[in-house]
Amino acid sequence: MADETKAPEQSAPRSESGPGRPGGDRPRFGGPGRGPGGPPREGGGRKFFRRKKVCKFCTEKIEDINYKDYRLLGQFVAESGKIVPRRLTGVCAPHQHRLSAAIKQARNIALLPFAGRAS
């Protein structure tokens, strides 16, 4: 909380960077609290310890994210057919890029559904 009030004060004297600051802070707001393995925030109401999420592709050294491998891709697709965001799966950004591209290719060739369950 102390950081939040301090940041605008610092940036305010510096001409135009003031308005940009709070907006930039907003997405990161939830970040430190739920950060990987970070200590739970006071007053956040979160009692349980969040397991540190790691990128599956980095740990298992899977470099080839291919559209043909629908079993692998299926792990990152929700029941509804949506691509699961990486804040939930813990996949790192470079791999999420490739993953989403591969999922979209797989959808195109009817290996994965656009919406709903593959039946």
């Binding site: 195109n108 009817a110 559904p113």
Partner: protein, 136 residues
């Protein structure tokens, strides 16, 4: 200009094996005419589609790996489009991705060597360890 492409296409499920072979061979024959080569053809078998395509819920998947320029793909896609039993197809260029994968593989192997050599020579202090990267 040699590029590698993967053509995956789905034919309707009620197609017989002979018809499928005939279809594949006609596609294959079109490739050399446009200056390309067929690297491999793989019938992936019948599979349930994730969604209905032209009212079909199943399809026979075929994967073709082709090397050549854009003209090859242009011709093959045109043929696939006019071929009645083909219900869906997808072309993906794979050579750049393959290049990237090979690079990573090479990097990993060289790293493995680097880490293996100092580990073997660790007992003999730092002098052999310094030699190892130079020889590699």
């Amino acid at each position: 200009m040699n590029r590698t492409y993967e053509l995956m296409f789905i034919v309707r499920p009620d197609m017989t094996d002979e018809d499928l072979d005939k279809l594949i061979s006609t596609l294959q024959s079109a490739v050399p005419a446009t200056g390309g080569t067929v690297k491999s053809v793989e019938k992936m078998g019948k599979r349930r589609l994730a969604y209905a395509v032209r009212r079909f819920y199943d399809g026979i998947y075929v994967l073709m790996v082709v090397e050549g320029g854009g003209a090859v793909i242009h011709e093959l896609e045109r043929r696939l489009r006019v071929t009645e039993p083909v219900i869906k197809f997808l072309t993906v260029r794979v050579d750049e991705e393959q290049k990237r994968l090979d690079k990573i593989k090479k990097l990993r192997e060289s790293r493995k060597k680097m880490s293996a050599q100092p580990a073997a020579a660790a007992a003999e202090e730092a002098a052999p360890a310094a030699e190892a990267p130079a020889s590699a």
